[in-house]
Symmetry: C2
Subunit: 311 residues, 2 copies
């Protein structure tokens, strides 16, 4: 009998739903739908369930053969409970218990933070099995996931893996989290664009008046000094956070994911250079790689998260 699991990545803008074969660990089909705008505590569950029913019909699958549903959500989560969420109206809410209420009783529901589950998803795409991984997700914000002894580190209330808020420098400017000197202030979109703008004013640049983070990386590759300085700064402080993580939890591997990581080996090599100049003892040898599963990582991780509870 074939058995299936749904992996779902709930984002602020889109929800990605993937149908996976439990036996073969493969993605059979996937779909992206807009995230409902209001009444998240009900509307998101309803939208997901509706898509699952449609998938089942399309693939001629009986609900009895669905074993579970994994949800990746953009909030800190602890055992499926969300105490606070900046992106969706899930505050003080038990997603597992509430989702189960509208699902057939046999279904297992597991919920995890999207960056943590993306880390799990990425780890499963690697040729080698790693028990301990740190992934940085670089985008508008800087997030991440930590897996140690093969378990996602959720932390006491779900804040495990919030590595964008490691303090890496002294500044009077305030981060969105309220602190000063967070990694995200340098490596998030806003920080990169702001620093590049100042460098452009100071040094001149091939960057046009309105530019994106991708433009900065492209210009750096074309030897634009203002952009090179900006990319070096991002690489330096990302490496600095990695050095501190290495000496505290010493993962087997660092993975670089998220939009900015598309800058590829040019960026990765700079990070490695700063890292190796500052890491100590055996931690110097920890490899850095680029994420490879792209936007599906959270959905894939959500599948594996449930799958691990079923073995």
């Amino acid at each position: 009998m074939n058995q299936y699991i749904y992996g779902v990545d709930v984002g602020g803008t889109f929800i990605k739903i993937g149908l996976f074969s439990k036996q073969c660990n493969i993605l059979i089909d996937k779909k992206e739908i807009p995230t409902p705008k209001n009444n998240h505590k009900k509307s998101i569950f309803a939208a997901i369930l509706s898509e699952i029913k449609a998938f089942n019909t399309k693939h001629d699958i009986c609900m009895d053969n669905i074993l579970g549903i994994g949800l990746a959500i953009p909030c800190p989560t602890k055992n499926g409970y969300v105490s606070q969420c900046a992106n969706l109206d899930f505050c003080e809410f038990d997603l597992v218990e509430n989702f189960k209420k509208i699902l057939p009783k046999h279904l297992i529901v597991k919920v995890g933070n999207d960056a943590s589950l993306a880390t799990l998803g990425e780890s499963k795409s690697l040729d080698k099995t790693y028990e301990s991984i740190v992934m940085f997700t670089l985008g508008t914000g800087v997030g991440g996931g930590i897996i140690l002894n093969s378990k996602i580190i959720e932390g006491k209330t779900g804040l495990g893996g919030e590595i964008g808020h490691i303090k890496v420098y002294e500044t009077n400017e305030t981060c969105g989290c309220g602190a000063h000197g967070c990694l995200e202030q340098i490596c998030g979109t806003k920080g990169i664009l702001s620093f590049a703008k100042k460098q452009k004013q100071e040094l001149g640049s091939i960057l046009e008046e309105h530019f994106t983070v991708k433009d900065v990386f492209d210009a750096a590759k074309n030897n634009d000094q203002a952009s090179i300085n900006t990319v070096n700064r991002v690489a330096k402080y990302l490496a600095s956070a990695a050095v501190n993580l290495a000496i505290t939890i010493e993962p087997e591997i660092f993975i670089l994911g998220g939009g900015i990581s598309k800058a590829g080996n040019y960026f990765l090599d700079k990070i490695k250079e700063y890292y190796q100049a500052n890491a100590r003892f055996n931690t110097r040898d920890i490899p850095f790689i680029l994420a490879s599963t792209g936007n599906d990582a959270g959905m894939i991780g959500a599948f594996y998260y449930v799958s691990e509870y079923l073995t």
Copy 2:
């Protein structure tokens, strides 16, 4: 039938050996012997075995009733293997395999880092069970232990928990580890005495010409400004490291151990003050407590480390 376990804490100067009842989880007897000075790869095992035999005779215990031996050692260790050790001649050495060679075959041997096992030992002395703990051990150096999901975080090669080498400030002065700006440079004995000396020169002080770390804390409690500034600096940067650990692994509790922690609640309250001013979201609520098992923590942890493998 009564069953027993030995917990052994191998330090650079002394070896502490404790005989524990497996059934009752209690320390029956303990002894401290000097650490052999030479040929550590053989002499330390021989010294421990000799004391174990003497304990067995004293308490009329047959070796068949000893289930295992736990060793806490002052080096990074991974599954009992030590690749480098500053304190003992254990470099590139498998302690478990080599100790087993001279022991009866039925004995289980487990080896862990002393600060990590002290963390485990401390955790077992608490009224509540915690799955995730970070302990700072403050002394000549600054070390620590991290337990997450009830497992010691050894790291890829044993460097997990080396929280004294988290970078917390900018400086040109070099740490013993080769980096610049480590927590240990501020919170280790050398850093404290050096800063207090400068403060004394600048502000005057009730501190005498030759003073200890304890003198600095005592003088601070007596309103000596140079000493207050020194203690505040230690508390501030310790809190800064804790803030970064909280936002990455979010433990349930922070424990403060080691010699300096004897400064007690006066010191702990200062750390908490800086911590709460800088921690974010739910991490503000993570409690800080003082270690309570004192110098026996490593030995007790070594016992529990073996004990957990036997349940």
